[in-house]
């Protein structure tokens, strides 16, 4: 392993500072005792965190986002696991097409998906409904679960399944006792990745939410276009904390580096 020179290391330090600066600044400003956006130079204060908890609209949006992300990620997992098994296990015409279709929301801009869903929901008369917002999220986050489960299913040793099958295990027992435990890291990792993506989604949601179903990122976006105050920093710091907690979980169950850069 050759060493990086001082020039390379200073470049590296600059990149790290660049990547972390906005997040660190948000977390610091959240603790300011002042009324303006400033670094907490004269001591730390929690007043802006208290201010967040007094904003009912933000609290409601937070719960909306949490429930939405939980249910959407679970539904996406329920439909992506069988689809991933179909794609990795069985040969059938249209298999490649289905794989492409299920992964396509990754390359279609969320903006386009947002206006498309808005049109459909408006025609159905259900725009702003929480249920349909949730289905929209399921479409967007299914590819993340699918990718991780496919990767897990490809690595599975089939001989244990064949043994169980020859010993007379039913299809359901086979799945529950043999296949699922083996692909579990992929399923759990996929669920968490889907959860984070649903929780953070703003571009599609902004088109298909009503005031009562607004998610936290949409509420924050709308708030930030109108006013900027330290309360925004406190909300952002809470979001960063929640995301960090989810990422630590994701690291435990699947490995953060595997999620981000694939197998090492």
């Amino acid at each position: 392993m050759s060493k990086n020179g001082p020039l390379a290391l200073s470049f590296h330090a600059l990149v790290v500072v660049f990547m972390l600066a906005p997040l660190v600044v948000v977390c610091l400003v959240a603790f300011t005792p002042e009324n303006t956006l400033s670094l907490p130079t004269s001591g730390f204060s929690l007043r802006w965190f208290y201010a967040v908890f007094e904003r009912k609209d933000f609290i409601d949006s937070f719960y909306n986002s949490l429930i939405l992300a939980f249910v959407a990620a679970s539904l996406a997992t329920v439909i992506a696991v069988p689809a991933a098994l179909a794609i990795t296990r069985y040969q059938f015409p249209g298999r490649g097409f289905l794989n492409g279709l299920f992964l396509s929301p990754i390359i279609i801009p969320h903006l386009v998906l947002g206006v498309a869903m808005l049109r459909l929901f408006a025609l159905m008369g259900v725009n702003g409904s929480f249920t349909w917002l949730m289905f929209a999220h399921v479409v967007v986050i299914t590819p993340y679960v699918l990718r991780l489960v496919i990767a897990a299913a490809i690595g599975v040793d089939r001989s244990a399944e064949q043994a169980a099958e020859s010993l007379g295990a039913s299809r359901f027992t086979l799945f529950r006792q043999i296949t699922l435990p083996m692909i579990l890291p992929g399923v759990a990792g996929g669920w968490l990745l889907a959860f984070i993506n649903s929780f953070d989604e703003v571009t599609l949601s902004i088109f298909v939410t009503a005031p009562s179903t607004q998610t936290l990122p949409v509420r924050m976006y709308v708030y930030a276009t109108e006013s900027i105050d330290p309360m925004m920093a406190a909300v952002s710091a809470l979001v960063i904390a929640l995301t960090a907690a989810t990422m630590i979980l994701l690291d435990r169950v699947y490995g953060l580096d595997r999620v981000l850069v694939g197998k090492n």
Binding site: M1, L9, V29, L120
Partner: protein, 290 residues
């Protein structure tokens, strides 16, 4: 495999993917098709969308109106600049990361890539704290005795925040192709007397090219359709394609025009991706001597 097993296998495949297929047809294919139809619908400011009446007027105004022309041009150059900056920063950074020792390598890789998972609204807000009129950068400039500079609501703010959001998407594919690089090839070149610069140019760069090209594709596509960053850091006047679509839908209420711009964005995006992909594949095959 007998015909019967083949049929049963196929049947199971369809059965297992049926729930996802139903959802994707209903909530992806159908809405996209409806939006395509909507982009041809006649629009009247008094009555709204006229179903059953079709026109090419929206596409004509997209191509002739200098307002839209300017928006598309601005979106294109901002995305191209962001992509270029991501290449210029991402290639050396991924290379430096790959040469680090064991604990540091994964620590820094995760530090640099995890902002990817944090809400883009939060990241945009972080940049507005740094770049605002009385933001930290201007405070630092004033503390050093300089004049405050207008940074927020300029193309500069949009570009720098987009680079921040997109850099992980560039580093990931470059990192992946660097993993396939055999360190022995570099050592062999060095031991045969090649300079470090020559090793970079002749051994490392050709190897990471596929990663750079796929990163370019992702970064350009995501930048061109980015919404929250220009929405929060570009202000009211500095519009990009996505924010214009938003205006057409939610303030002008001219849905057919908004749909037309969205369809054009999707088409341009797919076109760029497919042709770039073809270009990359062609090159890659050639370099492998096939």
């Amino acid at each position: 495999m007998s015909l019967l097993t083949a049929l049963r296998q196929g049947g199971r495949g369809y059965l297992l993917s049926a729930p996802a297929l139903v959802l994707f047809v209903g909530l992806l294919v159908l809405p996209l098709a409806l939006t395509l139809v909507l982009s041809f619908n006649v629009f009247d400011y008094e009555v709204g969308v006229k179903p059953g009446e079709y026109t090419l007027a929206h596409y004509a105004s997209l191509l002739s109106d200098s307002y839209f022309y300017e928006i598309f041009f601005r979106t294109f150059w901002i995305s191209a600049l962001v992509t270029l900056l991501c290449v210029v920063i991402g290639v050396p950074e991924a290379y430096i990361l790959s040469r680090m020792g064991t604990p540091w390598r994964s620590i820094f890789l995760i530090l640099i890539l995890t902002p990817l998972l944090i809400s883009v609204v939060v990241r945009a807000f972080g940049w507005s704290l740094l770049l605002g009129a009385d933001g930290l950068i201007n405070q630092a400039i004033q503390a050093l005795g300089g004049q405050p500079v207008k940074l927020l609501y300029t193309p500069f703010a949009v570009v720098i925040a987009l680079v921040h959001v997109m850099l992980p998407f560039m580093i990931i594919p470059i990192w992946t192709s660097l993993q396939k690089l055999d360190p022995a090839a570099e050592q062999a070149a060095l031991s045969l007397g090649a300079s470090q610069a020559k090793v970079m140019r002749l051994v490392v760069l050709p190897q990471v090219m596929p990663g750079v090209l796929s990163g370019t594709l992702i970064v350009f596509g995501l930048s061109a359709s980015s919404f929250a960053i220009p929405g929060l850091l570009g202000g009211r006047r500095l519009k990009m394609v996505a924010t214009v679509v938003y205006d057409q839908y939610l303030s002008e209420l001219n849905w057919p025009m908004g749909a037309t711009i969205a369809v054009a964005l999707l088409l341009v995006n797919l076109l760029v991706m497919l042709s770039w992909n073809r270009l990359v594949e062609g090159r890659y095959k050639k370099s492998l001597g096939e």
